[in-house]
Protein backbone atom coordinates (compact mmCIF):
# COMPACT_ATOMS: atom_id res chain seq x y z
CA UNK A 1 0.00 0.00 0.00
CA UNK A 2 2.89 2.34 0.74
CA UNK A 3 3.92 2.33 -2.92
CA UNK A 4 0.37 3.26 -3.91
CA UNK A 5 -0.13 5.95 -1.29
CA UNK A 6 -0.40 9.32 -3.01
CA UNK A 7 2.61 11.62 -2.55
CA UNK A 8 1.70 14.96 -1.00
CA UNK A 9 2.85 17.12 -3.92
CA UNK A 10 1.09 15.53 -6.84
CA UNK A 11 -1.67 13.10 -6.22
CA UNK A 12 -2.22 11.62 -9.63
CA UNK A 13 -2.90 7.99 -10.42
CA UNK A 14 -2.81 6.59 -13.93
CA UNK A 15 -5.43 3.90 -14.32
CA UNK A 16 -5.15 1.28 -17.06
CA UNK A 17 -8.12 -1.08 -17.46
CA UNK A 18 -7.03 -4.20 -19.30
CA UNK A 19 -8.61 -7.42 -20.51
CA UNK A 20 -6.50 -9.88 -22.49
CA UNK A 21 -3.93 -7.22 -23.39
CA UNK A 22 -0.71 -9.18 -22.82
CA UNK A 23 0.67 -7.90 -26.12
CA UNK A 24 0.27 -4.23 -25.29
CA UNK A 25 -0.04 -3.60 -21.57
CA UNK A 26 3.67 -3.78 -20.73
CA UNK A 27 4.53 -1.21 -23.39
CA UNK A 28 1.72 1.07 -22.26
CA UNK A 29 2.99 0.96 -18.65
CA UNK A 30 6.52 1.81 -19.79
CA UNK A 31 5.27 4.67 -21.96
CA UNK A 32 3.21 6.05 -19.08
CA UNK A 33 6.24 5.89 -16.80
CA UNK A 34 8.37 7.84 -19.23
CA UNK A 35 5.58 10.40 -19.79
CA UNK A 36 4.89 10.98 -16.08
CA UNK A 37 7.83 9.60 -14.07
CA UNK A 38 7.22 8.62 -10.42
CA UNK A 39 3.45 8.61 -10.92
CA UNK A 40 1.77 5.48 -9.57
CA UNK A 41 0.34 3.27 -12.30
CA UNK A 42 -2.53 0.92 -11.57
CA UNK A 43 -3.51 -1.75 -14.05
CA UNK A 44 -6.97 -3.17 -13.37
CA UNK A 45 -6.94 -6.68 -14.77
CA UNK A 46 -10.50 -7.71 -15.66
CA UNK A 47 -9.79 -11.40 -15.05
CA UNK A 48 -7.76 -11.80 -18.25
CA UNK A 49 -7.22 -15.28 -19.65
CA UNK A 50 -3.72 -14.42 -20.84
CA UNK A 51 -0.57 -13.04 -19.20
CA UNK A 52 -1.85 -9.45 -18.85
CA UNK A 53 -1.35 -9.43 -15.09
CA UNK A 54 2.23 -10.72 -15.10
CA UNK A 55 3.23 -8.45 -18.02
CA UNK A 56 1.86 -5.42 -16.18
CA UNK A 57 3.65 -6.40 -12.97
CA UNK A 58 6.88 -7.06 -14.84
CA UNK A 59 6.64 -3.58 -16.36
CA UNK A 60 6.42 -2.14 -12.86
CA UNK A 61 2.71 -1.39 -12.46
CA UNK A 62 0.59 -2.24 -9.46
CA UNK A 63 -2.19 -4.62 -10.42
CA UNK A 64 -5.73 -4.70 -9.09
CA UNK A 65 -6.87 -8.18 -10.10
CA UNK A 66 -10.63 -8.69 -10.35
CA UNK A 67 -11.81 -12.16 -9.29
CA UNK A 68 -14.18 -12.45 -12.26
CA UNK A 69 -14.81 -10.59 -15.50
CA UNK A 70 -16.90 -7.46 -14.92
CA UNK A 71 -16.72 -5.70 -18.26
CA UNK A 72 -15.18 -2.31 -18.93
CA UNK A 73 -17.40 -0.23 -16.64
CA UNK A 74 -17.04 -2.52 -13.63
CA UNK A 75 -13.31 -2.73 -14.25
CA UNK A 76 -12.82 1.05 -14.42
CA UNK A 77 -15.08 1.61 -11.42
CA UNK A 78 -12.98 -0.82 -9.34
CA UNK A 79 -9.94 1.34 -10.11
CA UNK A 80 -11.86 4.51 -9.26
CA UNK A 81 -12.98 2.99 -5.97
CA UNK A 82 -9.46 2.06 -4.96
CA UNK A 83 -8.10 5.47 -6.03
CA UNK A 84 -10.81 7.20 -4.02
CA UNK A 85 -10.14 5.08 -0.95
CA UNK A 86 -6.41 5.76 -1.21
CA UNK A 87 -7.05 9.51 -1.37
CA UNK A 88 -5.94 10.39 -4.89
CA UNK A 89 -6.96 13.80 -6.21
CA UNK A 90 -6.75 13.00 -9.90
CA UNK A 91 -7.11 9.82 -11.91
CA UNK A 92 -6.33 9.62 -15.59
CA UNK A 93 -7.51 6.57 -17.48
CA UNK A 94 -5.43 5.25 -20.33
CA UNK A 95 -6.58 2.17 -22.23
CA UNK A 96 -4.41 -0.94 -22.03
CA UNK A 97 -4.45 -1.57 -25.79
CA UNK A 98 -2.02 1.24 -26.61
CA UNK A 99 -4.52 3.42 -28.49
CA UNK A 100 -4.04 6.37 -26.16
CA UNK A 101 -0.70 8.13 -26.37
CA UNK A 102 0.54 8.57 -22.79
CA UNK A 103 2.56 11.63 -23.83
CA UNK A 104 -0.74 13.53 -23.59
CA UNK A 105 -1.22 12.73 -19.90
CA UNK A 106 0.40 16.05 -18.82
CA UNK A 107 -2.09 17.93 -21.07
CA UNK A 108 -5.04 16.16 -19.42
CA UNK A 109 -3.58 16.72 -15.95
CA UNK A 110 -2.97 20.42 -16.63
CA UNK A 111 -6.61 20.84 -17.63
CA UNK A 112 -7.73 19.07 -14.45
CA UNK A 113 -5.44 21.15 -12.26
CA UNK A 114 -6.93 24.36 -13.64
CA UNK A 115 -9.91 23.45 -11.49
CA UNK A 116 -12.68 24.69 -13.77
CA UNK A 117 -14.06 21.23 -14.54
CA UNK A 118 -14.54 17.84 -12.92
CA UNK A 119 -13.67 15.73 -15.96
CA UNK A 120 -11.33 16.09 -18.91
CA UNK A 121 -11.82 14.13 -22.11
CA UNK A 122 -8.83 13.44 -24.28
CA UNK A 123 -10.35 14.05 -27.68
CA UNK A 124 -9.11 12.85 -31.05
CA UNK A 125 -11.22 15.49 -32.78
CA UNK A 126 -10.24 18.76 -31.08
CA UNK A 127 -7.21 18.99 -33.32
CA UNK A 128 -8.74 16.63 -35.87
CA UNK A 129 -6.57 13.67 -34.94
CA UNK A 130 -9.19 11.07 -35.70
CA UNK A 131 -7.50 9.38 -38.62
CA UNK A 132 -7.30 6.04 -36.77
CA UNK A 133 -11.06 5.86 -36.25
CA UNK A 134 -12.85 3.28 -38.36
CA UNK A 135 -15.96 4.19 -40.38
CA UNK A 136 -18.36 2.41 -38.04
CA UNK A 137 -17.02 4.14 -34.96
CA UNK A 138 -16.91 7.51 -36.76
CA UNK A 139 -20.60 7.11 -37.68
CA UNK A 140 -21.40 6.20 -34.07
CA UNK A 141 -19.54 9.26 -32.81
CA UNK A 142 -21.49 11.56 -35.16
CA UNK A 143 -24.77 9.95 -34.07
CA UNK A 144 -24.04 10.24 -30.35
CA UNK A 145 -22.79 13.82 -30.74
CA UNK A 146 -26.26 14.66 -32.06
CA UNK A 147 -27.99 12.71 -29.26
CA UNK A 148 -25.90 14.28 -26.51
CA UNK A 149 -25.99 17.87 -27.77
CA UNK A 150 -29.44 18.76 -26.34
CA UNK A 151 -28.91 16.69 -23.18
CA UNK A 152 -25.58 18.24 -22.26
CA UNK A 153 -26.54 21.67 -23.55
CA UNK A 154 -23.22 21.94 -25.34
CA UNK A 155 -21.36 20.04 -28.02
CA UNK A 156 -19.03 17.16 -27.26
CA UNK A 157 -16.63 16.20 -30.03
CA UNK A 158 -15.45 12.80 -28.86
CA UNK A 159 -18.14 11.21 -26.66
CA UNK A 160 -16.75 7.66 -26.99
CA UNK A 161 -13.23 8.53 -25.88
CA UNK A 162 -11.92 6.47 -22.99
CA UNK A 163 -8.97 8.80 -22.49
CA UNK A 164 -10.47 10.50 -19.47
CA UNK A 165 -9.19 12.36 -16.44
CA UNK A 166 -11.29 13.02 -13.34
CA UNK A 167 -10.76 15.06 -10.21
CA UNK A 168 -11.66 13.90 -6.72
CA UNK A 169 -15.24 15.19 -6.90
CA UNK A 170 -15.97 13.16 -10.02
CA UNK A 171 -13.97 10.27 -8.55
CA UNK A 172 -16.33 10.21 -5.57
CA UNK A 173 -19.35 10.21 -7.87
CA UNK A 174 -18.00 7.51 -10.18
CA UNK A 175 -16.93 5.34 -7.23
CA UNK A 176 -20.58 5.16 -6.26
CA UNK A 177 -22.30 5.34 -9.67
CA UNK A 178 -20.72 4.29 -12.91
CA UNK A 179 -22.25 2.80 -16.05
CA UNK A 180 -21.18 -0.80 -16.29
CA UNK A 181 -21.07 -2.00 -19.88
CA UNK A 182 -20.22 0.84 -22.31
CA UNK A 183 -19.45 3.62 -19.87
CA UNK A 184 -18.07 6.59 -21.80
CA UNK A 185 -21.26 8.14 -23.17
CA UNK A 186 -23.46 7.36 -20.19
CA UNK A 187 -20.80 8.75 -17.85
CA UNK A 188 -21.24 12.14 -19.54
CA UNK A 189 -24.95 12.09 -18.75
CA UNK A 190 -24.27 10.97 -15.17
CA UNK A 191 -21.90 13.93 -14.90
CA UNK A 192 -24.51 16.29 -16.35
CA UNK A 193 -27.09 15.09 -13.82
CA UNK A 194 -24.82 16.37 -11.09
CA UNK A 195 -24.19 19.61 -12.99
CA UNK A 196 -20.51 18.74 -13.22
CA UNK A 197 -18.43 20.27 -16.00
CA UNK A 198 -16.13 18.70 -18.55
CA UNK A 199 -13.65 20.00 -21.07
CA UNK A 200 -12.03 18.36 -24.08
CA UNK A 201 -8.35 18.60 -24.81
CA UNK A 202 -6.55 17.38 -27.92
CA UNK A 203 -4.95 13.95 -27.55
CA UNK A 204 -3.22 11.63 -29.96
CA UNK A 205 -4.84 8.30 -30.72
CA UNK A 206 -3.12 5.39 -32.40
CA UNK A 207 -4.19 2.03 -33.77
CA UNK A 208 -4.43 -0.64 -31.05
CA UNK A 209 -1.22 -2.62 -30.63
CA UNK A 210 -2.79 -6.02 -30.15
CA UNK A 211 -6.05 -7.77 -29.37
CA UNK A 212 -9.46 -6.77 -30.65
CA UNK A 213 -11.96 -4.07 -29.77
CA UNK A 214 -14.81 -5.19 -27.55
CA UNK A 215 -17.21 -3.46 -29.95
CA UNK A 216 -17.25 -5.54 -33.10
CA UNK A 217 -19.40 -4.82 -36.14
CA UNK A 218 -21.99 -7.35 -34.96
CA UNK A 219 -22.15 -5.82 -31.51
CA UNK A 220 -22.53 -2.27 -32.84
CA UNK A 221 -26.32 -2.38 -33.01
CA UNK A 222 -26.52 -3.78 -29.49
CA UNK A 223 -24.08 -1.07 -28.41
CA UNK A 224 -26.24 1.72 -29.88
CA UNK A 225 -29.46 0.38 -28.33
CA UNK A 226 -27.80 -0.25 -24.98
CA UNK A 227 -26.19 3.18 -24.79
CA UNK A 228 -29.34 4.97 -25.99
CA UNK A 229 -31.35 3.19 -23.30
CA UNK A 230 -28.74 4.06 -20.68
CA UNK A 231 -28.77 7.71 -21.76
CA UNK A 232 -32.58 7.76 -21.74
CA UNK A 233 -32.74 6.27 -18.23
CA UNK A 234 -30.21 8.79 -16.96
CA UNK A 235 -32.18 11.63 -18.54
CA UNK A 236 -35.31 10.39 -16.75
CA UNK A 237 -33.41 10.43 -13.45
CA UNK A 238 -32.20 13.92 -14.27
CA UNK A 239 -35.74 15.19 -14.88
CA UNK A 240 -37.00 13.55 -11.70
CA UNK A 241 -34.24 15.18 -9.68
CA UNK A 242 -35.04 18.65 -11.04
CA UNK A 243 -38.71 18.34 -10.07
Amino acid sequence: MSSMAPPAARRLLVLIPAFNEEGAVGGVVEEVRSAVPKTPILVVDDCSLDATRSRAEAAGAQVLALPHHLGLGGCVQAGYRLAYELGYDYVIRVDGDGQHDPRDIPTVLAALEKGDCEMVIGSRFVDDNGEHTNILRAAGIIFFRAVLRPILGRPVRDPTSGYVGVNRTALELFSATFPLEYPEIEALVVLQRKRFRFVEVPCRFRPRRSGRSTITAVKSLYYIIHVLLGVFVNVLKFEARRK
Partner: protein, 121 residues
Protein backbone atom coordinates in the same frame (compact mmCIF):
# COMPACT_ATOMS: atom_id res chain seq x y z
CA UNK B 1 -61.43 -26.60 -27.51
CA UNK B 2 -61.62 -29.02 -24.56
CA UNK B 3 -58.33 -30.52 -25.67
CA UNK B 4 -56.63 -27.13 -25.37
CA UNK B 5 -57.87 -26.76 -21.80
CA UNK B 6 -56.68 -30.29 -21.03
CA UNK B 7 -53.28 -29.50 -22.49
CA UNK B 8 -52.99 -26.40 -20.29
CA UNK B 9 -53.98 -28.48 -17.26
CA UNK B 10 -51.33 -31.09 -18.06
CA UNK B 11 -48.74 -28.39 -18.69
CA UNK B 12 -49.59 -26.77 -15.34
CA UNK B 13 -49.27 -30.08 -13.53
CA UNK B 14 -45.93 -30.80 -15.21
CA UNK B 15 -44.72 -27.30 -14.24
CA UNK B 16 -45.77 -27.78 -10.61
CA UNK B 17 -44.18 -31.24 -10.35
CA UNK B 18 -41.02 -30.06 -12.12
CA UNK B 19 -40.62 -27.03 -9.82
CA UNK B 20 -41.31 -29.12 -6.68
CA UNK B 21 -38.79 -31.69 -7.82
CA UNK B 22 -36.20 -28.95 -8.44
CA UNK B 23 -36.84 -27.52 -4.98
CA UNK B 24 -36.44 -31.00 -3.45
CA UNK B 25 -33.08 -31.44 -5.22
CA UNK B 26 -32.09 -27.90 -4.13
CA UNK B 27 -31.78 -26.70 -7.74
CA UNK B 28 -34.21 -23.88 -7.00
CA UNK B 29 -34.43 -22.10 -3.68
CA UNK B 30 -37.86 -22.18 -2.04
CA UNK B 31 -38.31 -18.39 -2.30
CA UNK B 32 -37.86 -18.51 -6.09
CA UNK B 33 -40.20 -21.47 -6.52
CA UNK B 34 -43.20 -19.68 -5.03
CA UNK B 35 -43.87 -17.52 -8.12
CA UNK B 36 -43.72 -20.52 -10.46
CA UNK B 37 -45.89 -22.69 -8.19
CA UNK B 38 -48.42 -19.92 -7.85
CA UNK B 39 -48.52 -19.37 -11.62
CA UNK B 40 -48.88 -23.14 -12.19
CA UNK B 41 -51.64 -23.45 -9.60
CA UNK B 42 -53.63 -20.53 -11.04
CA UNK B 43 -53.32 -21.98 -14.54
CA UNK B 44 -54.40 -25.41 -13.31
CA UNK B 45 -57.48 -24.01 -11.59
CA UNK B 46 -58.40 -21.96 -14.68
CA UNK B 47 -57.87 -24.95 -16.99
CA UNK B 48 -60.11 -27.22 -14.88
CA UNK B 49 -62.79 -24.73 -13.81
CA UNK B 50 -64.40 -23.80 -17.13
CA UNK B 51 -67.30 -21.81 -15.68
CA UNK B 52 -64.77 -19.48 -14.07
CA UNK B 53 -63.10 -18.99 -17.47
CA UNK B 54 -66.46 -18.21 -19.02
CA UNK B 55 -67.21 -15.62 -16.34
CA UNK B 56 -63.78 -14.01 -16.75
CA UNK B 57 -64.16 -13.98 -20.53
CA UNK B 58 -67.58 -12.37 -20.21
CA UNK B 59 -66.27 -9.76 -17.77
CA UNK B 60 -63.43 -8.95 -20.17
CA UNK B 61 -65.78 -8.86 -23.14
CA UNK B 62 -63.99 -11.76 -24.85
CA UNK B 63 -66.09 -14.28 -26.76
CA UNK B 64 -63.63 -17.17 -26.42
CA UNK B 65 -62.91 -18.41 -22.88
CA UNK B 66 -59.64 -20.04 -23.95
CA UNK B 67 -58.29 -16.65 -25.08
CA UNK B 68 -59.08 -15.35 -21.59
CA UNK B 69 -57.09 -18.27 -20.14
CA UNK B 70 -54.21 -17.59 -22.55
CA UNK B 71 -54.15 -13.91 -21.55
CA UNK B 72 -54.06 -14.94 -17.90
CA UNK B 73 -51.26 -17.41 -18.54
CA UNK B 74 -49.24 -14.84 -20.51
CA UNK B 75 -49.70 -12.21 -17.82
CA UNK B 76 -48.74 -14.66 -15.05
CA UNK B 77 -45.50 -15.66 -16.78
CA UNK B 78 -44.62 -12.07 -17.63
CA UNK B 79 -45.01 -11.13 -13.96
CA UNK B 80 -42.84 -14.07 -12.87
CA UNK B 81 -40.18 -13.18 -15.46
CA UNK B 82 -40.24 -9.52 -14.43
CA UNK B 83 -39.79 -10.45 -10.77
CA UNK B 84 -36.85 -12.68 -11.71
CA UNK B 85 -35.31 -9.91 -13.83
CA UNK B 86 -35.50 -7.60 -10.82
CA UNK B 87 -33.88 -10.23 -8.66
CA UNK B 88 -31.13 -10.98 -11.20
CA UNK B 89 -30.36 -7.27 -11.60
CA UNK B 90 -30.04 -6.90 -7.84
CA UNK B 91 -27.80 -9.96 -7.59
CA UNK B 92 -25.68 -8.73 -10.52
CA UNK B 93 -25.13 -5.38 -8.79
CA UNK B 94 -24.23 -7.16 -5.55
CA UNK B 95 -21.87 -9.50 -7.39
CA UNK B 96 -20.05 -6.59 -9.08
CA UNK B 97 -19.68 -4.68 -5.81
CA UNK B 98 -18.48 -7.84 -4.07
CA UNK B 99 -15.91 -8.61 -6.80
CA UNK B 100 -14.60 -5.04 -6.67
CA UNK B 101 -14.38 -5.13 -2.87
CA UNK B 102 -12.59 -8.50 -2.91
CA UNK B 103 -10.07 -7.18 -5.45
CA UNK B 104 -9.49 -4.00 -3.42
CA UNK B 105 -9.07 -5.92 -0.15
CA UNK B 106 -6.65 -8.38 -1.78
CA UNK B 107 -4.70 -5.45 -3.18
CA UNK B 108 -4.48 -3.80 0.24
CA UNK B 109 -3.62 -7.08 1.95
CA UNK B 110 -0.79 -7.73 -0.49
CA UNK B 111 0.56 -4.23 0.03
CA UNK B 112 0.33 -4.67 3.80
CA UNK B 113 2.17 -8.01 3.67
CA UNK B 114 4.93 -6.43 1.59
CA UNK B 115 5.17 -3.61 4.11
CA UNK B 116 5.43 -6.06 7.03
CA UNK B 117 8.03 -8.20 5.31
CA UNK B 118 10.26 -5.31 4.21
CA UNK B 119 12.08 -4.69 7.59
CA UNK B 120 12.86 -8.41 7.98
CA UNK B 121 14.84 -8.53 4.74
Amino acid sequence: MDRLFDMVAVFSLVLIVWVLSSVRRAHIRVEYSVSWLLAGAVLLVLALWRTLDDRIAMALGISDSFIALAIFAGAAFLIVLYRLSLRISGLNDSSITLAQQVAILEFKLKALNEKIQTPAR
